[in-house]
């Protein structure tokens, strides 16, 4: 099972930095023990929430990129649910979307190479033909 997920969660704004790090490291050990890989950790900082969640108007957003199977995600979500300072979380699978984007990018790059060699005239016509192919 090699799937890539994005795990975004919000912790309460008054949570100290070191406790956030502690939480992240416990999640990371959970990932590695389940045979997954923590690919990236990004702290997006304090942001205003669009609506109040548990009476909080701000929250610290943390984004993890995790590689692993569904069982791992299940475990991570369970941990987030029982962790008291975490007020909201969202998991999104991104590998298929990424595959699609890579495919489109490859098509575009190959077309660009083809259109770069002839004269300037076919080059402007190329994007018009490219757009339906990209959306299809």
């Amino acid at each position: 099972m090699n799937r890539t997920y994005e795990l975004m969660f919000i912790v309460r704004p008054d949570m100290p930095e070191e406790e956030q790090d502690k939480l992240i490291s416990t999640l990371e050990t959970a990932v590695t023990t389940s045979g997954g890989v923590m690919k990236n950790v990004e702290k997006m900082g304090k942001r205003h929430l669009a609506y109040s969640v548990r009476r909080f108007r701000d929250g610290m957003y943390i984004l993890l990129t995790v590689e692993g199977g569904g069982g791992l995600i299940h475990e991570l979500e369970r941990r987030l649910r029982v962790t008291e300072p975490v007020i909201k979380f969202l998991t999104v699978r991104i590998d298929e979307e990424q595959k699609r984007l890579d495919k489109i990018k490859a098509i575009r790059d190959s077309r660009r190479k083809v259109s770069a060699t002839p004269a300037a005239a076919p080059a402007p016509a190329e994007p018009a033909g490219e757009a339906p192919a990209a959306t299809a």
């Binding site: 975004m8 929430l49 669009a50 609506y51 969640v53 909201k88 979380f89 969202l90």
Partner: protein, 127 residues
């Protein structure tokens, strides 16, 4: 939908109809004459015949994502998503924004994900 198609039909009729088909077109126009009275300053609008009832040519709407080749519609990109959310927090319909069907589908799911993680409001403005 009807609003979107109207400009194209009006231009088509004005091109093909040529000179003053007004006698034949007036009955098919239906309610057009009283519309014309509502907006008097329209020189030549009546003369063109019934369907050409628009003062402004509405520009043909195009999909922003197709034109700018934005393929990744991500829930984290609040700036992008906010352009397609009405003031009330609703997702703006395709007929108003001109986004094509595949992109609108991705857009709406991204907006829903963003709502879930409190990046966008479910209702009302982001406070």
């Amino acid at each position: 939908m009807a609003d979107e198609t109207r400009p194209t039909t009006s231009t088509a009729s004005s091109h093909s109809g040529g000179e003053r088909p007004s006698g034949g077109d007036r009955p098919s126009g239906g309610d057009r004459p009283d519309r014309g009275e509502r907006r008097p300053p329209r020189p030549g609008g009546r003369g063109e015949g019934g369907p050409g009832g628009r003062k402004f040519f509405r520009r043909k709407k195009v999909c922003k994502f197709c034109v700018e080749k934005i393929e990744a519609i991500n829930y984290k990109d609040v700036r992008l998503l906010a352009q397609f959310v009405a003031e009330s927090g609703k997702i703006t319909p395709r007929r108003l924004t001109g986004v094509c069907t595949p992109h609108q589908r991705r857009l709406s799911s991204a907006i829903k994900q963003a709502r879930n993680i409190a990046l966008l409001p479910f209702a009302g403005r982001a406070s």
